[in-house]
């Protein structure tokens, strides 16, 4: 069972949260001009990395706020927490 560090409520049981998946996916500009491949890339293609992962969580049964988490998908260790409008932080000693 994971303990998720909500920036407002502190560490809480994963049961209270909704996982929002991969972070920093931006909707492509020019919706009426981009081709199907660009849409497929945006809608469906994912990094799914084995290692450092930048993802979104929502404290659904708590404060209901969204935030970002950096987690290692091999150990499930959470390495950093940051706000929705922040850029992904570098993790010292880790590339990706």
């Amino acid at each position: 069972m994971l303990l998720i560090p909500c920036p407002w409520c502190g560490e809480r049981d994963v049961h209270e949260f909704h996982c929002g998946g991969e972070a920093h996916i931006t909707r492509p500009a020019g919706a009426d001009t981009i081709d199907d491949a660009a849409w497929a890339d945006y809608l469906f293609m994912r990094q799914n990395p084995k290692g450092l992962y930048y993802e979104r969580w929502n404290h659904a049964h708590g404060c209901r706020k969204w935030f970002h988490v950096v987690r290692d998908t091999v150990s499930d260790q959470i390495l950093a927490v940051y706000q929705m409008d922040e850029a992904p932080p570098d993790i010292p000693g880790r590339s990706s």
Partner: protein, 416 residues
């Protein structure tokens, strides 16, 4: 291949079973093969077997980073059925079910395929309608499938609590009598042994670390046991497919999640069919050893940890105890996790990739064991001819660009 039979058993009994030969060789990798299959799970081994058996391509290696069947093949709850909704899926899964039906004889290896019937329970009006629709679709596709009312469920599986006092009462079920379970390890071993007998090299403890390319074409593999050249490479690595795609320079619409299962202490036979429920999310059968085999759900987050959260196990056991009150005092013996490759439309991806000569077979998620023989069969065809078999053509990677998705969330809702 040393043929297994009642006579060979008797003969070997005379020498105290000390003279059985190894079921397959463990050769050193050759510098080059016609085809290399990455991943020694059931699907990869079946692919190699059908390449040799049906397409005469025997200069083949299967490279596996751990041991045969050590991935999801050896970790799954072994439910086999073909009652999927859409025509494309019906074609693929029923092809596989037909291959299961003669598999032990073909492989000369007892895969313990037991067609004991699979129930999918309905707990509300919507479930009933959804199941009826699926049963009708199955029958139009020539797949055996029927609807039972609550009494019919009770008659078929007397253990289930069908009283109306349940929080989620059982209103009926779909039943596929030809569905059932098989022995997971035996499937990997049976295909491995038969493929080896046809000349396929099975190489364990050999991890692929890079994919070699010459421009747009695949040239071979970098592995922990050296470079292996091949102009055709089939990748069948389930939860690790994105890692391999990354080595080849493209992305997949896949996310990898832990999926757990658990078994109880063994007891006398009590449950002689497979029971699944989408709504309360539980699925259960009893193994020939007597253990209850229970599948849980996936964790919601991406993880390669090969273990899941206890909360998921807890939720599953709630549901099981509600349906089968008599199991409330059973003790669970073991619990484990696999990494499943979840695709947005709950259907697999089988076919070509942006790299010439590189083929992927993945995205089976929580439900690919049932497809093991069929998947290997059509994937071998795809690799041998460099074009998909008609049955797997709709399952190409480019359906995510064309929009021709094959949405099987209904048939695959309970992770199985």
């Amino acid at each position: 291949m040393q043929k297994y039979s009642i006579f060979s058993l008797a003969r070997n009994a005379l020498s105290r079973h000390e003279n059985w030969r190894e079921a397959w060789r463990s050769p050193e990798p050759k510098p080059e093969y016609d085809v290399v299959i990455v991943g020694g799970g059931g699907h990869g081994l079946a692919t190699a077997y059908y390449l040799a058996k049906e397409h005469g391509i025997t200069n083949v290696a299967v490279v596996e980073k751990g041991w045969l069947g050590g991935g999801n093949t050896g970790r799954n709850t072994t439910i086999v059925r073909s009652n999927y909704l859409w025509d494309e899926s019906a074609g693929l899964y029923e092809h596989s079910l037909k291959l299961w039906e003669g598999l032990s004889q073909k492989l000369n290896f007892n895969v313990m395929f037991s067609q004991r019937g699979v129930l999918n329970l309905a707990h509300n009006l919507h479930d009933l309608r959804e199941l009826s629709r699926r049963v009708n679709a199955n029958r139009l596709n020539g797949i055996d499938s029927e609807i039972l009312d609550a009494q019919g469920v009770k008659d078929f599986c007397p253990l289930i609590d069908t009283s109306l006092t349940l929080r989620y009462p059982v209103l009926g079920a779909s039943l596929q009598r030809r569905g059932g379970v098989a022995r997971h390890d035996a499937v990997a071993w049976g295909f491995a042994r038969a493929a080896d007998a046809l000349g396929v090299d099975i190489i364990q403890n050999c991890e692929v670390t890079g994919i070699l390319r010459d421009g747009d074409a695949v040239q071979g593999l970098e592995t922990s046991r050296g470079t292996i050249k091949a102009n055709k490479v089939g990748v069948v690595v389930a939860g690790h497919c994105s890692v391999l795609a990354n080595m080849a320079g493209f992305r997949l619409p896949i996310e990898s999640h832990p999926l757990q299962a658990l078994v109880s202490e063994p007891v006398k036979p009590v449950l002689d069919c497979v029971v699944m429920s989408n709504a309360v999310h539980a699925y259960i059968s009893q193994s020939d050893k007597g253990e209850l085999v229970i599948g849980a759900g996936i964790d919601s987050y991406v993880s390669y940890s090969q273990r899941g959260g206890f909360d998921v196990v807890e939720d599953t056991l709630h549901a099981v105890v509600e349906l089968f009150p008599m199991f409330s005092r059973m003790r669970m013996l073991r619990q484990w996790g696999g990494i499943v490759d979840v695709c947005p439309d709950a259907s697999p991806i089988i076919g070509k990739t942006p790299v010439q000569g590189l083929y992927f077979n993945c995205g089976w998620g929580t439900g690919g064991f049932k497809a093991t023989p069929g998947s290997g069969n059509v994937f071998a065809h795809t690799i041998a001819r460099d074009e998909p078999h008609p049955l797997n053509a709709p399952f190409a990677l480019d359906r995510f660009t064309s929009g021709a998705l094959i949405d099987e969330h209904g048939a695959a809702a309970v992770a199985h």
